[in-house]
Amino acid sequence: MADSTLRWREMLPIVTRELRVASKRRATYRLRLIVALLGAGGLLLGAMLAGPSVEMGQWLFRIMSGVMLGGASLAGLVLTADCISKEKREGTLGLLFLTRLVGADVALGKLGVAVLCGGSVAFAAAPFLAVSICLGGVTAREFCEMSALLVFLLAYSLVLGIFISTLFRREVVVSLLFCLAMFLPVIATPLAILKWKTLPEFYAQINPFFPALKMIEGGFFLPAEYLRPTLIFQTFAMVAMLGFSCAYLPWTVRSREAGAQRKEPTRLRRASHRAILDSNPMLWLGERKNHPLVLLFLCAGLRLCLGFSSKTPFEVDLAYILLLAILPKLFVLWQSSGMMAAERESGFLETVLTTPIPSSEVLQGKMRAMKRQIFPTLLFALLVQWMTATKWWSAAGAIPWETTSLFVAMIMLLVDVHTIAWVGMWQGLVARDRRRALIGAALWGCIGPWLPVLLIGAVFQIIFDPTIREPALVIAPALIIANACSIAIACLAMAQLHEKFRSTATETWSLKPI
Protein backbone atom coordinates (compact mmCIF):
# COMPACT_ATOMS: atom_id res chain seq x y z
CA MET A 1 0.00 0.00 0.00
CA ALA A 2 2.82 2.34 0.90
CA ASP A 3 4.34 1.78 -2.56
CA SER A 4 1.29 3.08 -4.40
CA THR A 5 1.19 6.45 -2.61
CA LEU A 6 2.28 9.58 -4.40
CA ARG A 7 5.72 10.79 -3.31
CA TRP A 8 6.28 14.47 -3.91
CA ARG A 9 9.99 14.11 -3.29
CA GLU A 10 10.23 11.64 -6.17
CA MET A 11 8.05 13.64 -8.50
CA LEU A 12 10.28 16.69 -8.15
CA PRO A 13 13.37 15.10 -9.75
CA ILE A 14 11.28 14.37 -12.85
CA VAL A 15 10.26 18.02 -12.95
CA THR A 16 13.86 19.14 -12.39
CA ARG A 17 15.16 16.86 -15.13
CA GLU A 18 12.53 17.97 -17.64
CA LEU A 19 13.14 21.62 -16.80
CA ARG A 20 16.88 21.13 -17.40
CA VAL A 21 16.05 19.66 -20.81
CA ALA A 22 13.68 22.57 -21.52
CA SER A 23 16.36 25.09 -20.54
CA LYS A 24 18.58 23.71 -23.31
CA ARG A 25 15.91 23.90 -25.99
CA ARG A 26 15.90 26.79 -28.42
CA ALA A 27 12.11 26.84 -28.49
CA THR A 28 11.93 27.83 -24.83
CA TYR A 29 13.68 31.09 -25.63
CA ARG A 30 12.17 31.61 -29.06
CA LEU A 31 8.69 31.52 -27.53
CA ARG A 32 9.41 34.87 -25.87
CA LEU A 33 10.08 36.41 -29.25
CA ILE A 34 6.97 34.80 -30.73
CA VAL A 35 4.81 36.08 -27.86
CA ALA A 36 6.27 39.58 -28.27
CA LEU A 37 5.62 39.48 -32.03
CA LEU A 38 2.05 38.27 -31.53
CA GLY A 39 1.48 40.98 -28.95
CA ALA A 40 2.89 43.65 -31.25
CA GLY A 41 0.75 42.31 -34.12
CA GLY A 42 -2.34 42.48 -31.91
CA LEU A 43 -1.53 46.05 -30.89
CA LEU A 44 -1.09 47.05 -34.54
CA LEU A 45 -4.35 45.40 -35.51
CA GLY A 46 -6.16 47.10 -32.65
CA ALA A 47 -4.72 50.43 -33.77
CA MET A 48 -5.89 49.74 -37.31
CA LEU A 49 -9.43 48.76 -36.46
CA ALA A 50 -10.41 51.50 -34.08
CA GLY A 51 -10.30 55.26 -33.70
CA PRO A 52 -11.13 56.51 -30.18
CA SER A 53 -9.15 55.20 -27.24
CA VAL A 54 -12.10 53.39 -25.57
CA GLU A 55 -13.10 51.61 -28.75
CA MET A 56 -9.48 50.73 -29.41
CA GLY A 57 -9.16 49.30 -25.90
CA GLN A 58 -12.16 47.04 -26.46
CA TRP A 59 -10.88 45.88 -29.85
CA LEU A 60 -7.43 45.27 -28.48
CA PHE A 61 -8.86 43.27 -25.61
CA ARG A 62 -10.79 41.03 -28.02
CA ILE A 63 -7.92 40.57 -30.45
CA MET A 64 -5.35 39.83 -27.76
CA SER A 65 -7.77 37.44 -26.05
CA GLY A 66 -8.22 35.65 -29.38
CA VAL A 67 -4.47 35.36 -29.90
CA MET A 68 -3.96 34.04 -26.35
CA LEU A 69 -6.90 31.69 -26.81
CA GLY A 70 -5.13 30.12 -29.79
CA GLY A 71 -1.86 29.89 -27.86
CA ALA A 72 -3.45 28.32 -24.78
CA SER A 73 -5.33 25.74 -26.84
CA LEU A 74 -2.19 24.73 -28.74
CA ALA A 75 -0.09 24.46 -25.55
CA GLY A 76 -1.37 20.94 -24.91
CA LEU A 77 -0.46 19.83 -28.42
CA VAL A 78 3.09 21.14 -28.08
CA LEU A 79 3.84 20.40 -24.43
CA THR A 80 1.91 17.36 -23.26
CA ALA A 81 0.20 15.50 -26.13
CA ASP A 82 3.29 13.46 -26.93
CA CYS A 83 5.21 13.54 -23.64
CA ILE A 84 4.16 10.10 -22.36
CA SER A 85 3.53 8.42 -25.72
CA LYS A 86 7.09 9.38 -26.74
CA GLU A 87 8.44 7.61 -23.64
CA LYS A 88 6.37 4.57 -24.64
CA ARG A 89 7.72 4.56 -28.19
CA GLU A 90 11.29 4.93 -27.01
CA GLY A 91 10.76 2.23 -24.37
CA THR A 92 11.81 4.46 -21.46
CA LEU A 93 8.47 4.46 -19.64
CA GLY A 94 9.02 0.91 -18.42
CA LEU A 95 12.40 1.94 -17.03
CA LEU A 96 10.72 4.66 -14.94
CA PHE A 97 8.43 2.06 -13.37
CA LEU A 98 11.41 -0.11 -12.45
CA THR A 99 12.16 2.56 -9.83
CA ARG A 100 9.85 3.37 -6.93
CA LEU A 101 7.79 5.77 -9.05
CA VAL A 102 4.05 5.27 -9.50
CA GLY A 103 1.79 6.43 -12.33
CA ALA A 104 0.85 9.63 -10.50
CA ASP A 105 4.51 10.60 -10.06
CA VAL A 106 5.15 10.39 -13.78
CA ALA A 107 1.88 11.97 -14.95
CA LEU A 108 1.98 14.82 -12.43
CA GLY A 109 5.70 15.35 -13.02
CA LYS A 110 5.14 15.74 -16.76
CA LEU A 111 2.13 17.97 -16.14
CA GLY A 112 4.10 20.08 -13.66
CA VAL A 113 6.78 20.83 -16.24
CA ALA A 114 4.20 21.68 -18.89
CA VAL A 115 2.37 23.98 -16.46
CA LEU A 116 5.62 25.80 -15.66
CA CYS A 117 6.57 26.21 -19.34
CA GLY A 118 3.08 27.12 -20.56
CA GLY A 119 2.33 29.28 -17.53
CA SER A 120 5.50 31.34 -17.97
CA VAL A 121 4.58 32.12 -21.58
CA ALA A 122 1.00 33.00 -20.57
CA PHE A 123 2.38 35.23 -17.82
CA ALA A 124 4.62 36.97 -20.36
CA ALA A 125 1.63 37.58 -22.66
CA ALA A 126 -0.65 38.99 -19.93
CA PRO A 127 0.77 42.58 -20.08
CA PHE A 128 -0.36 42.87 -23.72
CA LEU A 129 -3.89 42.09 -22.57
CA ALA A 130 -3.53 44.60 -19.75
CA VAL A 131 -2.74 47.45 -22.20
CA SER A 132 -6.48 47.51 -22.97
CA ILE A 133 -7.21 48.59 -19.37
CA CYS A 134 -4.93 51.60 -19.82
CA LEU A 135 -6.68 52.53 -23.08
CA GLY A 136 -10.12 52.27 -21.48
CA GLY A 137 -13.30 50.41 -22.39
CA VAL A 138 -12.26 47.37 -20.36
CA THR A 139 -12.51 47.11 -16.60
CA ALA A 140 -9.98 45.45 -14.33
CA ARG A 141 -12.65 42.88 -13.43
CA GLU A 142 -13.07 41.89 -17.09
CA PHE A 143 -9.30 41.62 -17.45
CA CYS A 144 -9.04 39.38 -14.37
CA GLU A 145 -11.94 37.19 -15.52
CA MET A 146 -10.48 36.78 -18.99
CA SER A 147 -7.03 35.97 -17.58
CA ALA A 148 -8.54 33.36 -15.28
CA LEU A 149 -10.51 31.79 -18.15
CA LEU A 150 -7.40 31.66 -20.33
CA VAL A 151 -5.47 29.96 -17.53
CA PHE A 152 -8.38 27.52 -17.20
CA LEU A 153 -8.24 26.77 -20.94
CA LEU A 154 -4.48 26.29 -20.69
CA ALA A 155 -4.93 23.82 -17.83
CA TYR A 156 -7.66 21.95 -19.74
CA SER A 157 -5.47 21.74 -22.84
CA LEU A 158 -2.49 20.41 -20.87
CA VAL A 159 -4.55 17.82 -18.98
CA LEU A 160 -6.23 16.68 -22.18
CA GLY A 161 -2.77 16.24 -23.71
CA ILE A 162 -1.64 14.08 -20.76
CA PHE A 163 -4.83 12.01 -20.96
CA ILE A 164 -4.53 11.29 -24.69
CA SER A 165 -0.81 10.68 -24.40
CA THR A 166 -1.46 8.08 -21.69
CA LEU A 167 -3.98 6.20 -23.79
CA PHE A 168 -2.16 6.06 -27.12
CA ARG A 169 1.31 5.37 -28.43
CA ARG A 170 1.73 6.77 -31.95
CA GLU A 171 2.46 10.46 -32.40
CA VAL A 172 0.13 10.83 -35.35
CA VAL A 173 -2.76 9.32 -33.35
CA VAL A 174 -2.25 11.49 -30.28
CA SER A 175 -1.92 14.65 -32.37
CA LEU A 176 -5.04 13.86 -34.37
CA LEU A 177 -7.13 12.95 -31.33
CA PHE A 178 -5.99 16.03 -29.44
CA CYS A 179 -6.94 18.27 -32.36
CA LEU A 180 -10.32 16.55 -32.65
CA ALA A 181 -11.09 16.75 -28.93
CA MET A 182 -10.00 20.37 -28.72
CA PHE A 183 -11.23 21.89 -31.95
CA LEU A 184 -14.13 19.76 -33.18
CA PRO A 185 -16.60 21.19 -30.60
CA VAL A 186 -15.64 24.72 -31.71
CA ILE A 187 -16.18 23.82 -35.36
CA ALA A 188 -19.51 22.22 -34.47
CA THR A 189 -20.70 25.32 -32.57
CA PRO A 190 -21.71 27.42 -35.65
CA LEU A 191 -23.54 24.38 -37.07
CA ALA A 192 -25.41 23.90 -33.79
CA ILE A 193 -26.35 27.60 -33.73
CA LEU A 194 -27.52 27.32 -37.35
CA LYS A 195 -29.81 24.44 -36.43
CA TRP A 196 -31.16 25.41 -33.01
CA LYS A 197 -30.59 29.22 -33.18
CA THR A 198 -28.87 28.91 -29.83
CA LEU A 199 -26.25 26.62 -28.36
CA PRO A 200 -27.45 23.51 -26.46
CA GLU A 201 -25.98 23.11 -22.99
CA PHE A 202 -24.21 19.85 -23.81
CA TYR A 203 -22.36 21.48 -26.73
CA ALA A 204 -21.25 24.27 -24.40
CA GLN A 205 -19.98 21.80 -21.82
CA ILE A 206 -17.84 19.78 -24.22
CA ASN A 207 -16.45 22.92 -25.85
CA PRO A 208 -13.22 23.89 -24.06
CA PHE A 209 -13.32 27.35 -25.66
CA PHE A 210 -16.83 28.15 -24.48
CA PRO A 211 -16.02 30.12 -21.27
CA ALA A 212 -13.39 32.34 -22.93
CA LEU A 213 -15.38 32.70 -26.18
CA LYS A 214 -18.47 33.76 -24.25
CA MET A 215 -16.43 36.51 -22.65
CA ILE A 216 -15.08 37.72 -26.01
CA GLU A 217 -18.33 37.64 -28.02
CA GLY A 218 -20.38 39.37 -25.29
CA GLY A 219 -23.30 36.93 -25.01
CA PHE A 220 -24.98 37.43 -28.43
CA PHE A 221 -24.91 33.76 -29.42
CA LEU A 222 -23.46 31.96 -26.41
CA PRO A 223 -25.83 31.96 -23.41
CA ALA A 224 -24.33 33.34 -20.19
CA GLU A 225 -26.26 30.93 -17.95
CA TYR A 226 -24.20 27.99 -19.27
CA LEU A 227 -20.94 29.44 -18.00
CA ARG A 228 -21.12 28.08 -14.46
CA PRO A 229 -22.26 24.52 -15.37
CA THR A 230 -19.64 24.43 -18.14
CA LEU A 231 -16.84 25.42 -15.79
CA ILE A 232 -17.98 22.81 -13.24
CA PHE A 233 -18.28 20.11 -15.92
CA GLN A 234 -14.86 20.87 -17.39
CA THR A 235 -13.23 20.97 -13.94
CA PHE A 236 -14.65 17.52 -13.18
CA ALA A 237 -13.53 16.34 -16.61
CA MET A 238 -9.99 17.54 -15.90
CA VAL A 239 -9.89 15.81 -12.53
CA ALA A 240 -11.31 12.61 -14.04
CA MET A 241 -8.85 12.65 -16.95
CA LEU A 242 -5.91 13.25 -14.64
CA GLY A 243 -7.03 10.60 -12.16
CA PHE A 244 -7.55 8.06 -14.93
CA SER A 245 -4.13 8.86 -16.43
CA CYS A 246 -2.40 8.38 -13.07
CA ALA A 247 -4.16 5.07 -12.46
CA TYR A 248 -3.91 3.66 -15.97
CA LEU A 249 -0.35 4.70 -16.82
CA PRO A 250 1.50 1.66 -15.34
CA TRP A 251 -0.74 -0.68 -17.39
CA THR A 252 0.28 0.92 -20.67
CA VAL A 253 3.85 -0.42 -20.47
CA ARG A 254 4.21 -3.30 -22.89
CA SER A 255 6.62 -4.70 -25.40
CA ARG A 256 6.56 -3.70 -29.07
CA GLU A 257 3.78 -5.20 -31.12
CA ALA A 258 4.67 -7.79 -33.70
CA GLY A 259 4.17 -6.52 -37.25
CA ALA A 260 0.73 -7.21 -38.63
CA GLN A 261 0.38 -9.70 -41.45
CA ARG A 262 0.38 -7.94 -44.82
CA LYS A 263 -2.14 -8.89 -47.46
CA GLU A 264 -0.72 -10.14 -50.75
CA PRO A 265 -1.55 -7.67 -53.55
CA THR A 266 -3.51 -8.84 -56.58
CA ARG A 267 -1.86 -9.23 -60.01
CA LEU A 268 -3.39 -5.99 -61.34
CA ARG A 269 -2.29 -4.11 -58.27
CA ARG A 270 1.19 -5.60 -58.55
CA ALA A 271 1.44 -4.42 -62.18
CA SER A 272 0.31 -0.96 -61.13
CA HIS A 273 2.90 -0.95 -58.35
CA ARG A 274 5.59 -1.97 -60.85
CA ALA A 275 4.65 0.90 -63.20
CA ILE A 276 4.80 3.43 -60.35
CA LEU A 277 8.06 1.99 -59.06
CA ASP A 278 9.63 2.32 -62.50
CA SER A 279 8.55 5.95 -62.84
CA ASN A 280 9.68 7.10 -59.37
CA PRO A 281 10.56 4.86 -56.39
CA MET A 282 9.66 7.60 -53.91
CA LEU A 283 6.24 7.90 -55.47
CA TRP A 284 5.73 4.19 -54.94
CA LEU A 285 6.83 4.45 -51.30
CA GLY A 286 4.53 7.42 -50.75
CA GLU A 287 1.62 5.72 -52.51
CA ARG A 288 1.67 2.77 -50.12
CA LYS A 289 0.20 4.84 -47.29
CA ASN A 290 -2.32 6.74 -49.43
CA HIS A 291 -6.06 6.41 -48.86
CA PRO A 292 -7.60 8.83 -51.37
CA LEU A 293 -11.00 7.15 -51.42
CA VAL A 294 -11.32 7.29 -47.63
CA LEU A 295 -10.91 11.06 -47.74
CA LEU A 296 -13.38 11.30 -50.58
CA PHE A 297 -16.01 9.24 -48.77
CA LEU A 298 -15.42 11.23 -45.60
CA CYS A 299 -16.12 14.47 -47.46
CA ALA A 300 -19.16 12.99 -49.21
CA GLY A 301 -20.49 11.54 -45.95
CA LEU A 302 -20.37 14.93 -44.28
CA ARG A 303 -23.18 16.02 -46.59
CA LEU A 304 -25.49 13.48 -44.96
CA CYS A 305 -24.53 14.63 -41.45
CA LEU A 306 -25.21 18.25 -42.40
CA GLY A 307 -28.53 17.27 -43.94
CA PHE A 308 -29.62 15.97 -40.55
CA SER A 309 -28.33 18.92 -38.56
CA SER A 310 -29.54 21.91 -40.66
CA LYS A 311 -33.05 23.09 -41.43
CA THR A 312 -33.00 24.86 -44.79
CA PRO A 313 -31.20 23.76 -48.00
CA PHE A 314 -29.34 27.08 -48.11
CA GLU A 315 -27.86 26.45 -44.66
CA VAL A 316 -26.82 22.94 -45.70
CA ASP A 317 -25.18 24.22 -48.89
CA LEU A 318 -23.42 27.02 -47.07
CA ALA A 319 -22.08 24.81 -44.28
CA TYR A 320 -21.01 22.12 -46.75
CA ILE A 321 -19.08 24.40 -49.08
CA LEU A 322 -17.40 26.02 -46.08
CA LEU A 323 -16.30 22.60 -44.89
CA LEU A 324 -15.14 21.64 -48.37
CA ALA A 325 -13.11 24.84 -48.58
CA ILE A 326 -11.28 23.90 -45.37
CA LEU A 327 -11.05 20.10 -45.28
CA PRO A 328 -8.75 19.51 -48.32
CA LYS A 329 -6.34 22.07 -46.87
CA LEU A 330 -6.37 20.32 -43.51
CA PHE A 331 -5.77 16.92 -45.14
CA VAL A 332 -2.78 18.24 -47.08
CA LEU A 333 -1.46 20.10 -44.03
CA TRP A 334 -1.65 16.95 -41.95
CA GLN A 335 -0.13 14.64 -44.51
CA SER A 336 2.64 16.82 -45.87
CA SER A 337 4.02 17.96 -42.52
CA GLY A 338 3.52 14.62 -40.80
CA MET A 339 4.95 12.45 -43.55
CA MET A 340 8.18 14.41 -43.90
CA ALA A 341 8.68 14.86 -40.14
CA ALA A 342 8.11 11.17 -39.44
CA GLU A 343 10.50 10.08 -42.19
CA ARG A 344 13.22 12.47 -41.06
CA GLU A 345 12.78 11.46 -37.42
CA SER A 346 12.98 7.76 -38.19
CA GLY A 347 16.12 8.19 -40.31
CA PHE A 348 14.33 7.04 -43.45
CA LEU A 349 15.34 10.15 -45.41
CA GLU A 350 18.96 9.67 -44.47
CA THR A 351 18.79 6.11 -45.79
CA VAL A 352 17.19 7.29 -49.03
CA LEU A 353 19.95 9.83 -49.50
CA THR A 354 22.56 7.08 -49.47
CA THR A 355 21.00 5.75 -52.70
CA PRO A 356 21.74 7.30 -56.13
CA ILE A 357 18.27 8.98 -56.19
CA PRO A 358 18.80 12.77 -56.39
CA SER A 359 17.05 14.92 -53.80
CA SER A 360 14.91 16.62 -56.45
CA GLU A 361 13.49 13.22 -57.44
CA VAL A 362 12.77 12.39 -53.80
CA LEU A 363 10.82 15.62 -53.38
CA GLN A 364 9.08 15.24 -56.71
CA GLY A 365 7.98 11.71 -55.79
CA LYS A 366 6.62 12.86 -52.45
CA MET A 367 4.74 15.73 -54.00
CA ARG A 368 3.23 13.46 -56.66
CA ALA A 369 2.17 10.97 -53.99
CA MET A 370 0.48 13.75 -52.05
CA LYS A 371 -1.27 15.06 -55.15
CA ARG A 372 -2.58 11.57 -55.91
CA GLN A 373 -3.86 11.34 -52.35
CA ILE A 374 -5.75 14.63 -52.42
CA PHE A 375 -6.78 14.71 -56.08
CA PRO A 376 -10.21 12.95 -55.79
CA THR A 377 -11.18 15.00 -52.73
CA LEU A 378 -10.04 18.25 -54.29
CA LEU A 379 -11.86 17.53 -57.53
CA PHE A 380 -15.00 16.64 -55.58
CA ALA A 381 -14.76 19.84 -53.51
CA LEU A 382 -14.31 21.99 -56.62
CA LEU A 383 -17.21 20.27 -58.38
CA VAL A 384 -19.54 20.77 -55.42
CA GLN A 385 -18.53 24.43 -55.11
CA TRP A 386 -19.03 24.98 -58.84
CA MET A 387 -22.46 23.28 -58.79
CA THR A 388 -23.56 25.29 -55.76
CA ALA A 389 -22.34 28.53 -57.36
CA THR A 390 -24.24 27.87 -60.59
CA LYS A 391 -27.35 26.87 -58.61
CA TRP A 392 -27.36 30.20 -56.79
CA TRP A 393 -26.62 31.98 -60.06
CA SER A 394 -29.59 30.39 -61.84
CA ALA A 395 -31.87 31.04 -58.84
CA ALA A 396 -30.95 34.75 -58.75
CA GLY A 397 -31.04 35.30 -62.51
CA ALA A 398 -27.87 37.43 -62.28
CA ILE A 399 -24.44 36.87 -60.78
CA PRO A 400 -24.95 37.35 -57.02
CA TRP A 401 -22.03 38.11 -54.72
CA GLU A 402 -22.30 34.61 -53.24
CA THR A 403 -21.46 33.08 -56.63
CA THR A 404 -18.52 35.43 -57.12
CA SER A 405 -17.22 34.57 -53.64
CA LEU A 406 -17.49 30.87 -54.41
CA PHE A 407 -15.51 31.21 -57.62
CA VAL A 408 -12.84 33.11 -55.68
CA ALA A 409 -12.92 30.40 -52.98
CA MET A 410 -12.30 27.77 -55.67
CA ILE A 411 -9.18 29.59 -56.90
CA MET A 412 -8.02 30.09 -53.32
CA LEU A 413 -8.52 26.42 -52.56
CA LEU A 414 -6.30 25.40 -55.47
CA VAL A 415 -3.58 27.91 -54.57
CA ASP A 416 -3.71 27.14 -50.85
CA VAL A 417 -3.56 23.36 -51.29
CA HIS A 418 -0.47 23.75 -53.47
CA THR A 419 1.15 26.14 -50.99
CA ILE A 420 0.34 24.07 -47.94
CA ALA A 421 1.76 20.95 -49.58
CA TRP A 422 5.15 22.60 -50.13
CA VAL A 423 5.15 24.43 -46.80
CA GLY A 424 4.17 21.27 -44.94
CA MET A 425 7.05 19.35 -46.47
CA TRP A 426 9.45 22.17 -45.69
CA GLN A 427 8.33 22.43 -42.08
CA GLY A 428 8.32 18.65 -41.76
CA LEU A 429 11.96 18.69 -42.79
CA VAL A 430 13.15 21.49 -40.52
CA ALA A 431 10.93 20.99 -37.44
CA ARG A 432 11.99 18.91 -34.48
CA ASP A 433 8.90 16.68 -34.47
CA ARG A 434 5.55 16.13 -36.12
CA ARG A 435 3.53 18.47 -33.92
CA ARG A 436 5.91 21.38 -34.39
CA ALA A 437 5.89 20.73 -38.12
CA LEU A 438 2.10 20.83 -38.10
CA ILE A 439 1.97 24.11 -36.20
CA GLY A 440 4.73 25.66 -38.34
CA ALA A 441 2.99 24.60 -41.54
CA ALA A 442 -0.34 25.97 -40.31
CA LEU A 443 1.27 29.30 -39.41
CA TRP A 444 3.18 29.64 -42.70
CA GLY A 445 0.61 28.12 -45.03
CA CYS A 446 -2.73 29.23 -43.55
CA ILE A 447 -2.03 32.39 -41.54
CA GLY A 448 1.16 33.61 -43.29
CA PRO A 449 -0.51 34.79 -46.54
CA TRP A 450 -2.95 36.98 -44.57
CA LEU A 451 -0.35 38.76 -42.44
CA PRO A 452 0.91 41.04 -45.27
CA VAL A 453 -2.75 41.84 -46.06
CA LEU A 454 -3.32 42.94 -42.46
CA LEU A 455 -0.05 44.86 -42.42
CA ILE A 456 -0.79 46.71 -45.66
CA GLY A 457 -4.34 47.40 -44.45
CA ALA A 458 -3.05 48.76 -41.15
CA VAL A 459 -0.52 51.01 -42.89
CA PHE A 460 -3.18 52.35 -45.26
CA GLN A 461 -5.59 52.91 -42.40
CA ILE A 462 -3.04 54.72 -40.23
CA ILE A 463 -1.51 56.88 -42.98
CA PHE A 464 -4.48 57.68 -45.25
CA ASP A 465 -7.49 56.95 -42.99
CA PRO A 466 -9.76 56.27 -46.01
CA THR A 467 -13.56 56.00 -45.86
CA ILE A 468 -14.44 53.05 -48.08
CA ARG A 469 -18.11 52.45 -48.75
CA GLU A 470 -17.80 49.54 -51.17
CA PRO A 471 -16.67 46.25 -49.57
CA ALA A 472 -15.42 45.04 -52.97
CA LEU A 473 -12.69 47.70 -52.86
CA VAL A 474 -11.31 46.08 -49.72
CA ILE A 475 -12.07 42.40 -50.31
CA ALA A 476 -10.78 42.10 -53.89
CA PRO A 477 -7.28 43.57 -53.26
CA ALA A 478 -7.06 41.63 -49.99
CA LEU A 479 -7.76 38.33 -51.77
CA ILE A 480 -5.29 39.11 -54.54
CA ILE A 481 -2.54 40.04 -52.10
CA ALA A 482 -3.24 36.93 -50.00
CA ASN A 483 -3.11 34.67 -53.07
CA ALA A 484 0.09 36.29 -54.33
CA CYS A 485 1.67 35.91 -50.88
CA SER A 486 0.52 32.32 -50.81
CA ILE A 487 2.28 31.61 -54.12
CA ALA A 488 5.38 33.46 -52.89
CA ILE A 489 5.44 31.37 -49.70
CA ALA A 490 5.08 28.19 -51.79
CA CYS A 491 8.06 29.24 -53.92
CA LEU A 492 10.08 30.06 -50.80
CA ALA A 493 9.25 26.68 -49.28
CA MET A 494 10.11 24.91 -52.51
CA ALA A 495 13.43 26.74 -52.75
CA GLN A 496 14.31 26.07 -49.11
CA LEU A 497 13.39 22.41 -49.45
CA HIS A 498 15.49 21.84 -52.54
CA GLU A 499 18.45 23.85 -51.28
CA LYS A 500 18.70 22.38 -47.80
CA PHE A 501 17.21 18.94 -48.25
CA ARG A 502 20.38 16.90 -48.01
CA SER A 503 21.99 18.87 -45.18
CA THR A 504 18.82 19.08 -43.05
CA ALA A 505 17.65 15.52 -43.61
CA THR A 506 20.90 14.19 -42.20
CA GLU A 507 20.89 16.55 -39.22
CA THR A 508 20.25 15.05 -35.79
CA TRP A 509 18.13 16.85 -33.23
CA SER A 510 19.93 15.79 -30.08
CA LEU A 511 19.67 18.93 -27.94
CA LYS A 512 21.68 21.56 -29.76
CA PRO A 513 23.61 24.10 -27.66
CA ILE A 514 21.85 27.44 -27.47
Partner: protein, 88 residues
Protein backbone atom coordinates in the same frame (compact mmCIF):
# COMPACT_ATOMS: atom_id res chain seq x y z
CA UNK B 1 22.19 16.05 -64.08
CA UNK B 2 21.87 19.47 -65.70
CA UNK B 3 25.29 21.17 -66.23
CA UNK B 4 26.01 23.99 -63.84
CA UNK B 5 26.70 26.43 -66.68
CA UNK B 6 23.12 26.00 -67.85
CA UNK B 7 21.83 26.63 -64.34
CA UNK B 8 23.84 29.86 -64.11
CA UNK B 9 22.58 30.88 -67.50
CA UNK B 10 18.99 30.25 -66.43
CA UNK B 11 19.53 32.15 -63.17
CA UNK B 12 20.77 35.19 -65.10
CA UNK B 13 17.84 34.75 -67.45
CA UNK B 14 15.49 34.77 -64.47
CA UNK B 15 16.98 38.07 -63.31
CA UNK B 16 16.73 39.54 -66.80
CA UNK B 17 13.11 38.53 -67.16
CA UNK B 18 12.38 39.75 -63.62
CA UNK B 19 13.66 43.22 -64.52
CA UNK B 20 11.74 43.14 -67.81
CA UNK B 21 8.57 42.15 -65.96
CA UNK B 22 8.37 45.69 -64.58
CA UNK B 23 7.25 46.90 -68.01
CA UNK B 24 3.45 47.36 -67.98
CA UNK B 25 1.40 44.66 -69.76
CA UNK B 26 4.32 42.95 -71.58
CA UNK B 27 5.79 42.39 -68.14
CA UNK B 28 3.19 39.74 -67.30
CA UNK B 29 4.67 37.32 -69.85
CA UNK B 30 8.19 38.15 -68.69
CA UNK B 31 7.17 37.52 -65.06
CA UNK B 32 5.81 34.10 -65.93
CA UNK B 33 9.01 33.23 -67.81
CA UNK B 34 11.08 34.40 -64.83
CA UNK B 35 9.08 32.23 -62.44
CA UNK B 36 9.38 29.26 -64.77
CA UNK B 37 13.17 29.67 -64.87
CA UNK B 38 13.26 30.10 -61.10
CA UNK B 39 11.44 26.77 -60.65
CA UNK B 40 13.72 25.04 -63.15
CA UNK B 41 16.90 26.20 -61.41
CA UNK B 42 15.63 25.43 -57.91
CA UNK B 43 14.58 21.89 -58.81
CA UNK B 44 17.75 21.04 -60.73
CA UNK B 45 20.44 22.67 -58.57
CA UNK B 46 20.67 19.65 -56.22
CA UNK B 47 22.57 21.59 -53.55
CA UNK B 48 25.36 22.61 -55.89
CA UNK B 49 26.97 26.04 -55.66
CA UNK B 50 25.28 28.61 -57.82
CA UNK B 51 27.17 31.92 -58.12
CA UNK B 52 24.07 33.61 -59.58
CA UNK B 53 21.83 32.61 -56.67
CA UNK B 54 21.20 36.18 -55.54
CA UNK B 55 20.18 37.24 -59.03
CA UNK B 56 17.88 34.25 -59.23
CA UNK B 57 16.03 35.29 -56.09
CA UNK B 58 15.92 38.97 -57.03
CA UNK B 59 14.51 38.02 -60.41
CA UNK B 60 11.77 35.91 -58.82
CA UNK B 61 10.96 38.68 -56.34
CA UNK B 62 10.66 41.26 -59.13
CA UNK B 63 8.41 38.89 -61.06
CA UNK B 64 6.14 38.50 -58.03
CA UNK B 65 6.02 42.22 -57.45
CA UNK B 66 5.12 42.73 -61.10
CA UNK B 67 2.35 40.11 -61.06
CA UNK B 68 0.92 41.51 -57.83
CA UNK B 69 0.97 45.06 -59.19
CA UNK B 70 -0.66 44.02 -62.45
CA UNK B 71 -3.36 42.09 -60.61
CA UNK B 72 -4.16 44.97 -58.26
CA UNK B 73 -4.31 47.50 -61.09
CA UNK B 74 -6.52 45.14 -63.12
CA UNK B 75 -8.96 44.77 -60.21
CA UNK B 76 -9.19 48.52 -59.62
CA UNK B 77 -9.75 49.14 -63.34
CA UNK B 78 -12.43 46.41 -63.43
CA UNK B 79 -14.21 47.86 -60.40
CA UNK B 80 -14.05 51.36 -61.87
CA UNK B 81 -15.51 50.15 -65.19
CA UNK B 82 -18.34 48.16 -63.52
CA UNK B 83 -19.17 51.11 -61.28
CA UNK B 84 -19.28 53.48 -64.29
CA UNK B 85 -21.53 51.06 -66.17
CA UNK B 86 -23.83 50.72 -63.13
CA UNK B 87 -24.03 54.53 -62.79
CA UNK B 88 -24.85 54.81 -66.51
Amino acid sequence: MIPRSKLIEKSLGCFRCGVASMIPLIGIVQALVALNRFGFVIVNTNERWNPARLRLYVGALLAFASLLGHALIAVFVYLKITRDIANG
